[in-house]
Amino acid sequence: MSKEKTVGHSARDEILGKLKRIPKGAMLPRPAMPPLREISLDREQMVATFIEKLTREEGVVCRVSDGSEAVARLTEIAAQEDLRKVMVSTDTVIAPLGLPVWGRERGITVLTPGDFSTRDSFRDAVFDEVQAGITGVNYAVAESGTIVIVHDAHQPRLVSLAPILHIALIPTTRIVPTYEQAVEAIYGDTKDIPSHVTFTTGPSMTADIMGKPFKGMHGPRRLMVILIG
């Protein structure tokens, strides 16, 4: 690495030096922009907008009143999709639901990231063994039907990405009108910034062959959302 660093460093000074020698260009004042309409929505309107936008992106949304109903809904989905093995995150939405016990009672293998001692064995499971990834989310944005996940030890990146089906559980209290509220909450305290944050709007998609759009290019082919509350 030592060679890289020396090259990198003198290049740095040279590039910045060249840029700084040049007088600053004119700066346009930031023009005023009317706030987005979503800002004035109340909670129920935000929920309705979120559902409308995500459904348009082919997300499948249902709404339940509490955690136990959410688990009941998961049972239905598991039966309907014939789920035998799933990976679940252990974030603050999922952990209280006790899904490992739920799985044992129903003959479904419920794996959590904590079950794996190495990243390679975790990778094998999440790529090849499980039929679905079940996660909570940190925020959901009404503006475009987007779910926002802050990744950490309890919320690994691949759970919501590698399995062909992603099931996301969202307390309606976590819905915000626009991206800015989520970003302010996540990045507002600059001392405590998470390493990885993702926005997801519908399943993975492409239209790269002849402009023909389809879902499930690399990530999940289907995204199911259970709104709680």
Binding site: R12, K18, L28, A153, H196, D208, P220
Partner: protein, 489 residues
């Protein structure tokens, strides 16, 4: 990637006869424009939203060095390793050294225009490290060894039959199919295996946020997320102008980029990295390298007019509306960047002399300027390039013209400004010019005028010009020949 910018006319001539690509290009602009319009209307004032994006990008260019320093400081504080590269060679060397040191047999790549500019794939292949482009279109273009046809759909023009043959040969597909969806799933399976075992992932960067040291990527397929989740090492490569001041700015540009690019409100995935994975995380990169590449941009920065090219956010909105692009597609532009975006960037990055036809292949209609969320004035830049090229500007590497051409246009500009000189000139050159006339049309006048006649014909100069006839007519009328026909051949 082979640079073929000097073959613009040749390739355009061929592509314009490609009926398959033409049919696609004919349908595309209207479809994209309609989607864009629909989704722009979600802004209470779409024009104000565009203006706000333009102001953000103008500010970035104005404050470029301080924003880069702030970004570096914050990214390093989050644990990222930030390396700088003066040019493509240096940047490729850094990636190569990282890959070698980690003994990566292959790397997976998210779509990154700057790595195409650097020719990173060729360098990796030469050194025995196989790069796999993982964006579906980019994967196809890479395997076919073609430049991108469109920035968003690099292989969107390739017929399914050709994709089928390719996947049978290179992606382990077992049964032939011409269904785009089945083809996509075949690529999914093939690349999934690569993602599963990959040690090093390479991505580009859409935005680098100075305030937090965060890099932001937009995509639809999920391949960039895999590159940031599965391997132990992540290398993200950005050109210097990718920096933006704040997270709020990044959010507004995310809206504009998605809308102007594909007519989406937001791309399916947006991922943001602030340093490598934290302790206790079972996936994500243990080390995150961010390579900041200059590759000629600090030179561009020194030119106060050309500098605005650095505002570009690579949305491709200009391609979708360009009447020239709509006839010839992306190949004639000969390099990583096609359409008006390429016409703006390529001449600056390669030199005006190596991209002669790019900034001339334009009707100056201004559709690109109207749609640009970064506020680039493409037509004015093209005129500027043309002038600097003829003058032989040293910084922008203008070609300059031979003294004979200067002399000719000097005479020309005097002649056309004075009626007597013009009339005298016409009489003097007429016998010479009309020697080339074939049936009243001149299509060539020898090699000095080759360039001019390449796209134009000239009618032969009349035996008697209007002025000559008018003079004769008046004289004859006065001298008693009312028909004024005496002396006509």
């Amino acid at each position: 990637m082979e640079i073929r910018t000097t073959l613009f006319n040749e390739i355009a001539g061929k592509e314009i006869r490609n009926t398959y690509a033409r049919a696609f290009l004919k349908a595309m602009p209207a479809a994209i424009a309609a989607r864009r319009e629909a989704v722009m209307s979600s802004f209470p004032d779409p024009d104000a939203a565009q203006a706000c994006g333009q102001a953000i990008r103008a500010e970035v260019v104005a404050r470029l060095p301080e924003l880069l320093e702030q970004f570096e400081q914050n990214a390093v504080a989050r644990g990222a390793k930030v390396l700088w590269a003066r040019d493509a060679h240096e940047a490729n060397g850094i990636v190569l050294a990282i890959a070698r040191e980690r003994k990566a047999p292959y790397v997976t790549k998210g779509k990154s225009m700057v790595t195409e500019e650097m020719g990173l794939n060729d360098v990796l292949v030469e050194e025995g490290i196989e790069p796999f482009e993982t964006d579906l279109g980019e994967f196809i273009a890479q395997q076919l060894k073609r430049p991108p046809f469109h920035i968003v759909g690099p292989a969107i023009n390739i017929p399914v039959e050709e994709v089928c043959d390719l996947f049978m040969e290179k992606a382990g597909m077992e049964e032939p199919t011409t269904d785009p969806v089945e083809l996509g799933y075949a690529a999914r399976l093939f690349l999934r295996n690569k993602f599963h075992h990959v040690a090093l992932g390479v991505t580009g960067v859409n935005m680098a946020v100075a305030e937090t040291g965060t890099i932001v990527n937009l995509e639809n397929e999920g391949n960039i997320r895999f590159n940031k989740s599965s391997p132990r090492t992540q290398v993200s490569i950005m050109s210097i102008e990718k920096v933006v001041p704040t997270m709020a700015d990044a959010m507004h540009l995310t809206r504009l980029l998605s809308r102007n690019c594909t007519g989406q409100a937001i791309s399916a995935y947006v991922s943001m990295d602030s340093g490598p994975k934290g302790g206790g995380e079972i996936d994500g990169p243990e080390e995150l390298f961010i390579i900041i590449v200059d590759n000629g941009r600090s030179e561009i920065y020194a030119d106060p007019t050309a500098r605005q090219a650095l505002r570009c956010i690579r949305c491709g909105g200009c391609l979708n509306l360009c009447p020239v692009y709509a006839k010839i597609g992306g190949y004639p532009y000969g390099w990583a960047y096609s359409g008006p975006m390429g016409q703006v960037l390529t001449p600056l990055l390669l030199g005006l002399d190596r991209a002669q036809d790019l900034y001339r292949a334009c009707t100056l209609c201004g559709s690109c300027r109207e749609v640009c969320p970064a506020g680039i004035d493409h037509p004015s830049l093209f005129l500027y390039y043309r002038a600097k090229d003829v003058e032989g500007d040293r910084r922008l590497r203008g070609k300059r013209r031979p003294w004979k051409e200067f002399g000719f246009f000097d005479l020309w500009s005097r002649a056309v400004a004075h009626s007597t000189l013009w009339n005298l000139g016409v009489r003097l050159v007429r016998p010479f010019v009309n020697r080339y006339s074939r049936g009243g049309v001149i299509t060539t006048m020898g090699k000095y005028f080759e360039g001019w006649f390449r796209t134009r014909n000239l009618p032969a100069i009349a035996e008697k010009t209007f002025h000559e006839r008018w003079k004769r007519l008046r004289r004859d009328t006065v001298s008693g020949d009312p028909d004024g026909r005496r002396g006509e051949p």
